[in-house]
Amino acid sequence: MIATAIPAVPDSSARAALQLVDVHKSFGVTPIIRGVSLDVHAGERHAIIGPNGAGKSTLFNLVSGRFAPTSGAILLKGESITGSAPFEIYRKGLARSFQVTNIFPRLSVFENVRCSVLWSLGYGYSFRRRVAMLRDANERTETILERIRLASRRDVQAGVLTYAEQRALEIGITIAGNADVILLDEPTSGMSRDEAAAAVELVRSISRGKTLVMVEHDMSVVFDLADRISVLVYGEIIATDVPERIRANAAVQTAYLGTAVDA
């Protein structure tokens, strides 16, 4: 038996990587998120599930800075990121992927990933050095391309990749900056069974040693990957627990899993 370096379920004393404190979000008069409080432990894989329209994507958009919450606080590694711009949150170590593929379509696959490693390596807005000469950036890009299995497609324009390849690139862009908190929005959406299985392995490998929060519809993926699961229903979290207990939770079954089994 080989002991894994990271425990499957971190002990309760683990520092919270991400904290949401009574977060509300309304669009006009319509409340979408209605008081969400959540602690995501450092190093865990945390899944957020819930029926369509529950507000999962909105929650991600609040955490990653795409929208500012109407009220409440969001803390990343103990530091407030409430209402910060996406690039500020990213620089504090949180990266996200998108459910609808969000890449740089006219750049090559290699360029997509290389642009995504630049900030983390400290190159910022530099115009003193040529990117071709930045050995660390190019090597890191190659490594990422190997991991997302797109090395053979490196010079292809990203816009002409197949759907599954674009999904892989989407994850590649997200992990390229080596952020320690990663948000994945439906990483297997729209994929065939085989593609989804490959994506699960990819997610497993990239989340090693990191904190992962993901929204996912496919229950087999969720129960396979997640250390803990939060169930979001109509803008409120009705349960947060380990997979076995979520499966057994009566409230969750009526609100969500019951309908999922029937469908």
Binding site: S64, G65, A85, P86, F87, Y90, R91, A95, R96, F98, N102, I103, F104, P105, R106, L107, E111, R114, C115, S116, L118, W119, S120, Y123, G124, Y125, S126, F127, R128, R129, R130, V131, A132, L134, I173, A176, G177
Partner: protein
Amino acid sequence: MSEAGRASVLTPSARSLFSRLAPYRLWIAAAFVLVALPYFPGLTGNFGRSLLSQMGIAAVFALSYNLLLGQTGLLSFGHAVYFGLGGYAAIHLMRAISGGLPIPMPFVPLAGAATGLFFGLLFGSVTVRRAGVIFALISLGVGELVYALLRMLPAISGGEEGITANRTAGPHVFGVGLGPQLQMYYLIAFWAFVSAVLMYAFLRTPVGRMCNAVRDNAERAEFIGYDPVRVRLVVLAVAAMFAGLAGGLHALNYEIVASEAAGTGRSGTVLLMAYIGGVANFLGAILGAVTITWLQVSLSDYTSAWQLYLGLFFVLFVLFAPRGLAGLIVMHKEVVRTRAFLGLLRAYAVALLPAAVMTIGAIVFIEINYRRATQPEADPRMALFGIDMDYSTPWPWLAAIALLAIGAWLFRASLPLVASAWERATEAARTTAGGRR
């Protein structure tokens, strides 16, 4: 040491020099062309050399514009602001040099560049907050504002008449007095070359790559750590700096800067150049600048309706070749080596004949109309293409319309021929590319 021994020591270092220079062979070739151009037949006279000078200035300006439009996706309607302000800074510096300031004239364009950079940062901090339509409209507003301000301050701008200076004043470095147009051309060629190299290099830096990323998807750029507003500000400042440098060259070349240098007309012309040249390609801006400058100069010699032709030319490109001249070249690069290319050329030749008929009809129609409308008192007899005609009779009108209609009909009929020849050529290119793999 013997001769042979020395040669064997030198050869490897010479070889390594060659291999180190190899990636720059296009730039080296361009430098040689720039040096040789004023001695090409037809360009040795003063007219040819001032045409080349004008092209060089336009090329720097168009390249700077393409940093915005092609590389960052920012459509500006006010880029001439930086050209004009750079030009004014340069002309005032030239006057100061005439007054005894010991700065050699060849460095004057740097004052234009500094001024462009300054105003790029100043106006940019307002204009780049948003991209797309909003940026386009704000740039138009800033353009009008600066133009109006210049007109209101004749002491600085000289208004429509402009401010004049003398480029031969000041200390002469290496005997460069800028008196002869040839010297002026070489100075412009030097700065144009340096500008092109620097702009090309800029696009290959981290922030330059992010310009392309922001163009493609500004939102995603935010989620990999970059503030798109900041990226746009950097590129606007750089573009404004080179536009200012072009304005400085303009001041030196013409020894006069008037308010039109910052006007909307010039902003429109540079958009035309970048677009017709092809925005997706770095070299496109140069192609466009050279073509449009040549058209401006040569067309205005033949017809006073030249701006109308330029506009038509632009519309045709937007409709039928949106990737510009560079796009057309790139398109043909793959098929040029295939055997089907000859067939394609033949198809082009077939289509060219009715196209020429159509064009002649259009030109006659435009010219007689233009003359009738703008000079109603003039003699209705004129000569076009060496043929005397009298437009008070219906014959020139009928002939023009007939040529236009017949040409258009035949041209349309020839298009399927071109399309199928193109298909065969691309097919052949695909199979040869496949065979090579």
